[in-house]
């Protein structure tokens, strides 16, 4: 019972809280940030599969987001597909690309892997900027359509409204989180954790480590593809800028800032990377400096991330009361 409780109570509670949030906070700006943060939850889950579970730091999350975003947009604008169909197709394309590029790069480890994936991200970025007959180059593509409306139980859902899009991203984020949770608690997840701890031992035990690494890399790319597609159809305007290496670094941050674990820490991490830069907008010219300083200080003084820190603080707090 307690196992079931610990696994399901918090996710269900926070899902309810996130579902109710728009009725409490009706400021459009916050809803906008909420949608972005939920998109980043998907990215963080994908990044966590590779970085957190497997221990391979990939710097290509934003590149795969870009592939998803442009694939979905081009399928709708150039080929006239329905947005729903192209949104399903986008992660598949990102996944196929991940198979192709993952094959050479998963042979190397550690810093090598990080740098090679960073090169992939750069290549994707350069192609997005220079292949302007297809991608519109730096000026980008305007008028990316919103998903088609449909009606559920006689109630029309209009995705032009932020609120409908919020629930769409919430469903996707919840789904991504559930998938990652299931993977973690399956045999595959245990192999991935074993690879992080001791890859030669995994190989020596007769398990094809590279297959599992490939699985994690491809699933992660597909999740980033979903996030990219959601982003493109939400913002309605697409240019290469949000898919550069610095955004991939943000994905790494989302995984690190929250701390270890699949659930609360990733949500907190994603909300932080969306909220912090917005919050620091007040500081304008000092924004980069303050953000960088915060990063350095957080890593030095809170190396485990924010959620474990809060959890142990909460534990201390409650144990204080239990004694009395």
């Amino acid at each position: 019972m307690s196992l079931v409780k610990s696994h399901f109570v918090w996710p269900v509670l926070s899902l309810c809280a996130l579902a109710l949030a728009p009725t409490l906070v009706q400021v459009p700006y916050f809803l906008h940030l909420g949608i972005l943060a939920l998109i980043w939850v998907i990215v963080a889950q994908g990044q966590n599969l590779v970085q957190g579970f497997t221990g391979y730091v990939s710097i290509a999350a934003a590149g795969f987001m870009g592939v998803g975003a442009y694939a979905s947009t081009l399928l709708t604008t150039k080929l006239g597909w329905s947005v729903w169909a192209s949104m399903v197709c986008a992660p598949l394309l990102a996944g196929v690309l991940a198979v192709v590029v993952g094959y050479p790069s998963l042979r190397v480890k550690g810093h090598y892997f990080a740098i090679v994936t960073m090169a992939y991200n750069l290549v994707i970025f350069i192609v997005l900027i220079n292949f302007s007959s297809l991608t519109g180059g730096e000026s980008g593509i305007t008028g990316v359509p919103k998903p088609e409306n449909f009606s559920v139980f006689g109630m029309a859902v209009n995705f032009e409204t932020r609120i409908a899009y919020y629930y769409l991203t919430l469903i996707c984020a919840a789904f991504a989180t559930a998938v990652c949770g299931l993977v973690l608690h399956s045999r595959v997840g245990r192999v991935l954790l074993a690879i992080r701890q001791n890859e030669p031992l995994v190989d020596a035990s007769g398990v094809f480590a590279w297959r599992y690494k490939m699985f994690a890399f491809v699933l992660s790319a597909a999740l980033c593809g979903v996030a990219g597609a959601l982003y493109a159809h939400f913002i309605g305007f697409l240019n290469p800028e949000p898919f550069g290496v610095d955004q991939s670094l943000n994905a790494i941050l989302a995984v690190i800032l929250g701390g270890r674990g699949t659930f609360a820490s990733k949500i907190v991490g994603a909300f932080l990377v969306v909220a912090l830069p917005e919050f620091l907008r007040v500081a304008e010219t000092y924004r980069l400096i303050v953000y960088g300083l915060l990063l350095v200080l957080t890593t030095i003084f809170m190396p485990r991330g924010i959620v474990p820190l809060l959890a142990s603080a909460w534990y201390l707090f409650t144990s204080l009361f239990k004694k009395r």
Binding site: Q51, V57, P104, S105, R107, V108, G110, H111, Y112, A114, I115, V116, M118, A119, Y120, L122, V123, I126, V127, N130, V245, D246, L249, I252, L253, I256, T285, Y286, R287, L288, I289, Y291, G292, L293, L294, L295, V296, T299, I300, P303
Partner: protein
């Protein structure tokens, strides 16, 4: 043929800069195991300092570069002491995150201090020689010679001095070096000072050859890492060979294929090398 030689010459000049950046990265990586991502922005700060010294104080180019290297070395010492040392025993990813934070900070400070405009460092080396059709600019020759001199000076320091011996000892076996009474923290400071000074020289040369602009630091450090992969992480000869290969392949790609995609081709070269020699061209197995 002349066209080809021209591209190779231009490639060697830019490759020399990549080599300077990559040597700084490779000694930090080989000796301390840190992927020093902030190296590029440190190099750029040095480039800006050189620009400032020349334009505002009228210091001659090489003197300005030396002074900037000194400033860069001090910046490197500060970075090691206050940012990397607190996490030296934590997971490597922590040092990498610190490096990202530093990149943003130093980038922001550069922007604040020197503004967002492109700046070209003015040098007195403006003459152009024509060797049977091959256009040789004096500046590019100076870039290559400066790089060679700095590399020789660094090799001399590492192979002939007592401090250099301590550095090599830490690179070979950190624990044994500690047992023999080597002050590892001091070695880390020296390595960062040396690495940053070389990086700053690279920044100043690239500022003279191309231009200084925000964001160039990141692109330089990414090239530097690509060089490391090509040559082998932690190997100085690898960084020299890798830097020149990257520079030349970029120039050839720009000349014969497409200048927009030159970086793509450079990275493809890196990935192909990785496929066949995962440890890099001159890396150890």
């Amino acid at each position: 043929m002349i066209e080809f030689l021209q591209q190779v010459f231009n490639g060697l000049a830019i490759g020399a800069v990549y080599t300077l950046i990559a040597i700084g990265l490779t000694i930090v990586f080989g000796i301390l195991g840190i992927a020093h991502f902030a190296h590029g922005v440190v190099a750029m700060s040095g480039g800006y300092v050189t620009f400032f010294l020349i334009e505002k104080l009228g210091v001659p180019f090489f003197v300005a570069m030396m002074l900037a290297m000194l400033v860069g070395a001090i910046l490197g010492l500060l970075v090691e002491r206050f940012a990397y040392r607190p996490v030296q025993n934590a997971a490597h990813i922590n040092a990498f995150i610190i490096a990202l934070g530093l990149t943003m900070m130093i980038d922001g400070l550069n922007l604040l201090a020197f503004g967002p405009d492109q700046m070209v460092i003015r040098t007195p080396f403006q003459s152009v020689f024509n060797l049977g059709g091959l256009v040789v600019t004096e500046l590019r020759v100076y870039v290559m010679v400066t790089t060679a001199v700095l590399i020789v000076a660094m090799s001399f320091f590492v192979s002939r001095t007592k401090t250099g011996r301590a550095i090599r000892a830490v690179a070979q076996n950190r624990s044994a070096a500690i047992l023999m009474g080597v002050n590892v923290n001091a070695v880390a400071l020296v390595v960062f000072g040396l690495s940053s000074a070389l990086g700053v020289a690279g920044g100043a040369l690239v500022g003279a050859m191309l231009a200084l602009a925000p964001g160039l630091g990141e692109s330089l450090v990414i090239k530097g890492f690509a060089v490391l992969i090509l040559g082998g992480l932690g190997s100085v000869p690898g960084a020299i060979v890798g830097g020149l290969i990257l520079g030349v392949s970029e120039a050839l790609a720009a000349g014969y294929l497409s200048s927009a995609y030159k970086d793509v081709i450079a990275f493809l070269v890196m990935i192909v090398v990785l496929l066949f020699r995962p440890e890099g061209l001159l890396g150890k197995k």
